[in-house]
């Protein structure tokens, strides 16, 4: 039996917006935070469907606990504005052990990146002329090799890599990972497609509590087809631990 629905009020901060529309990762963090509790304080698996375009305005967040287990609590979270659903989220939450080390991990590791000083910060006013407000909240330093599109020279690899942290300098927590998994510029820029890439669905797996320090992030696409693309994202902490994985399905236009 599900618990009753808990209703919350939220003001969506317009300073996180992309061209006037609030950032999807920011919305996700804001909604998920309301569904956590003391026994299940960390997101583990988060699946979000972006139903309609949000605004920087008051919002209502409904949280329904579907099941509370010993290790995992599952909740259904919906963010709405003026009665219209904006984001529908399924959340599995639990508790991660600090500094846990892998029992096993596959080949590969964090992306090789130049020193932070050689990676320019992404400005909030991008090459498209659109204001991307979340870059005032998230400090993203791109590997110049994967951001040639910013100087009109896309490389056609559909991969971006870089360093990331909170703009206020605070160490990232697990909720910040929900933002960071959606904070890279679209990989379509590297294919010469500079248009908007609205997210339809985003799934984030938080795998560990991040260690203090800068995070390394890599995002890549596998397929653009029929108006839709995937973007896969990995976030690695300063101890070379994989702390988040994400995949999203988003739309693109060729015109």
């Amino acid at each position: 039996m599900s618990d009753p629905v808990a209703e919350h009020q939220l003001v969506v901060d317009g300073s996180w917006s992309v061209g006037g529309k609030p950032h999807g990762g920011y919305l996700l963090r804001s909604a998920v935070e309301l569904a956590l509790d003391g026994d299940h304080p960390h997101p583990m698996a988060v699946s979000a469907h972006y139903v309609s375009s949000p605004d920087g305005a008051p919002a209502q967040v409904s949280v329904q606990r579907v099941r509370t287990g010993r290790r995992v609590a599952t909740s259904h979270v919906r963010l709405s504005q003026a009665g219209e659903p904006r984001v529908d989220v399924l959340l599995s939450a639990g508790r991660w052990t600090p500094q846990e080390q892998p029992y096993w991990s596959g080949p590969g590791g964090p992306p090789d990146l130049p020193p932070i000083g050689q990676c320019p910060r992404v400005p909030s006013l991008g090459p498209t002329g659109r204001t991307v407000g979340y870059f005032d909240h998230v400090d993203v330093r791109l590997d110049p090799a994967t951001s040639r599109w910013a100087v009109g020279d896309p490389q056609g690899t559909a991969e971006v890599r870089g360093w990331m942290r909170r703009d206020d300098g605070a160490d990232a927590g697990p909720l910040d990972l929900l933002v960071f998994c959606d904070a890279m510029p679209p990989v379509t820029f590297d294919l010469g497609l500079m248009g908007w890439v609205p997210t339809l669905e985003l799934t984030v797996h938080v795998r560990a509590l991040p260690a203090p320090g800068w995070l390394r992030v890599v995002q890549r696409a596998r397929l653009l087809q029929d108006g839709w693309l995937d973007e896969e994202c990995e976030v690695w902490d300063s101890q070379h631990r994989l702390v988040a994985q994400a995949r999203q399905l988003a739309g693109y236009r060729l015109d």
């Binding site: 699946s47 469907h49 309609s52 099941r67 659903p85 399924l90 339809l200 669905e201 029929d226 739309g251």
Partner: protein
Amino acid sequence: MITTRIELADTWAYGAADVLPGDWLMDTLAGAALGHTAHPHPVAVSAHVGSAPRTGAGEVTVVVLLTCRTLPGPHREAS
């Protein structure tokens, strides 16, 4: 919101506890949702398994949040 009663058949179950596989259940649930929209194909499906599904009587609740054609691609064409 539309709630439908269904029978979860044991031909797909495994183990002594008659647990149903998650992929079969996703197929069943997504099929039920598509039956209430004009969109024929699943595009993105997310499932969190709250507890082990077992054979027997069940209920499927479908809530259509939005039907639109604002994004490209035939999967989201409205009728």
